[in-house]
Symmetry: C2
Subunit: 318 residues, 2 copies
């Protein structure tokens, strides 16, 4: 029973942009699920889904249309990891149309896990002019950010987790970072154990204020909880509470080896979607306007067991 | 009761170099413990201890004398983290005499956690010519590596964990990476949750084949085990077994909030040392030739409770 679960970032999604997000999620589910249904690997599926979101400049902050740094440049970060512990990750890359595919190339061909800057760019087989990743909208957003002051803001990181017919898990995350970030800044997205994780039991992709996810080791801590058979919904709520206590906010998606789908967020919105099939039956859902909280959709035959937990109050009262 | 625990890398330490390692460990303990004994912070202590090892070109692979990349260049990585979840980290930096102090500057002054390359170097207050970090010995080692072929090798990463009189924990790690690594490669040392970690319960610094520590999220997984009150020695042995199953090897040091000292390694040697005081009594030990395994030295009044666990066999039979 293959499953694909994706996110297109946690944050405030303005009502007039929600249709673009919905269309982007649907296209990414199509792109990732086609191979899964045909018996392809979870690793290929998460790469295909994330690459589709990278190519979508209308909604997501990754690849084309990624947020600009304080210097007005594009710096992309991405990671891909499978349940066998294989990882490829890149950061501060400006010459890749699909950063997630460059991360995949690191996974496939490098003895290393994480490459940054020119050392990562040297592996890109089809380098592009960095200016082609900048869109009129991303430039306009950067001009507005400049006009308002220097506090970095916003995120629409995208990610995917998948389970294939052979029972393998994989996760991928890709981001342009935070609008107005310092050049050279790396967030949680490309860091195994922070924003991206996969092992034999669970695959995870995170989105939100990356510094808080790095400070709390979100993905690896959630994987430890899954290893202990903790209740998934409570374990996710605990991770989000830790992120909040580190002055952050955001969300995450997690897919368990039994096919259970889980996601949680404490931002106003999370763009999420999933698709799975059992025989001739295909189930799917995607939303960009659901309420913050934690949702778990169990494996086949348990799909009514969704649960929702309120998150603890913010320590700062916000 | 302040405690300082340090390491100078896991690997094979040739007999004719052990005196240099011993001298370096003793000097680093002196540099880090003086402030602790005077009531200074754990954060200052780990920075001082690691900076001393960075300045020691005779033994350690960090700062001056760091291992060279495949391109014959120096790229330093470092992180510092305290028990309150504050982190600063830098990677691929060539212009800092003391990379750990640049990481500390990120912690103290940046809204970000991890900065790499020129974006990190821009924060260095006293930039140096990268060539000054290259020693005749590091150049000679690189020439030998070139002559033998392209497989990256070796590590003598250094790190420190400390507990101060106010009960605060901190950790720091610094490395030149792996001899012959690809330019732009980042290992586990500067990654919170992989090679470096501190929270209210435990401070951790790792050393070894960085890719395997990234693949297994070593430090954050150990912190999760400490949070669960797992037996420290078994939890460390489990992490080392995971690293080994990810085709790696290495070691780590961990300091608990109750002052318990722990370290483990499965390489031939680990350079380790610790010093602590209670009233007028100062205890200390450092070794570069002890047997692989896991050692725990409990808090005051329990110092005879050291335990040693054999590690599981290598899956590859090596």
């Amino acid at each position: 029973m293959p499953v694909l679960l994706i996110h297109g970032g946690a944050g405030r999604i303005a009502p007039d942009r929600r249709d673009a997000y919905r269309a982007g999620l649907a296209a990414a589910l199509d792109a990732g699920f086609a191979g899964l249904a045909a018996g392809g690997t979870a690793l290929d599926a998460v790469c295909a889904a994330v690459a589709a979101m990278e190519d979508d400049a209308a909604a997501f902050n990754a690849g084309t249309g990624a947020a600009l740094t304080a210097a007005g440049t594009v710096e992309c970060d991405a990671a891909v990891m499978d349940g066998a512990g294989r990882v490829g990750a890149i950061a501060c890359v400006s010459n890749a149309r699909n950063p997630v595919r460059l991360a995949r190339k690191v996974l496939d061909t490098s003895p290393h896990v994480l490459l940054v800057g020119p050392g990562a760019e040297a592996l890109e087989p089809e380098p592009i002019d960095p200016a082609t990743l900048i869109t009129p909208a991303s430039r306009a957003a950067w001009r507005r950010w400049q006009a308002r002051g220097a506090k970095p803001e916003g995120t629409a990181t995208c990610g995917a987790v998948a389970l294939d017919q052979a029972g393998r898990l994989a996760a991928a995350t890709s981001t342009g970072g935070v609008l107005g970030q310092a050049p050279g800044r790396v967030g949680d997205a490309p860091i195994p154990g922070a924003g991206t994780w996969a092992d034999a039991r669970v695959a995870i992709s995170c989105t939100g204020r990356g510094e808080a996810f790095l400070r709390t080791g979100t993905a690896r801590a959630l994987a430890s909880a899954v290893e202990r058979d903790d209740a998934t919904d409570l374990a996710i709520a605990q991770r989000l509470a830790e992120v909040r206590s580190a002055s952050g906010e955001g969300g995450l998606i997690a897919l368990l080896a039994d096919g259970s789908i889980a996601f949680g967020f404490d931002t106003p919105q999370l763009a999420w979607g999933w698709r799975r099939s059992a025989g001739a039956t295909v189930e799917e859902a995607w939303r960009v306007d659901s309420e913050p909280g934690v949702t778990v959709v169990r494996g086949a035959g348990q799909r009514d067991a969704a649960t929702l937990h309120d998150l603890p109050d913010r320590p700062d009262g916000a």
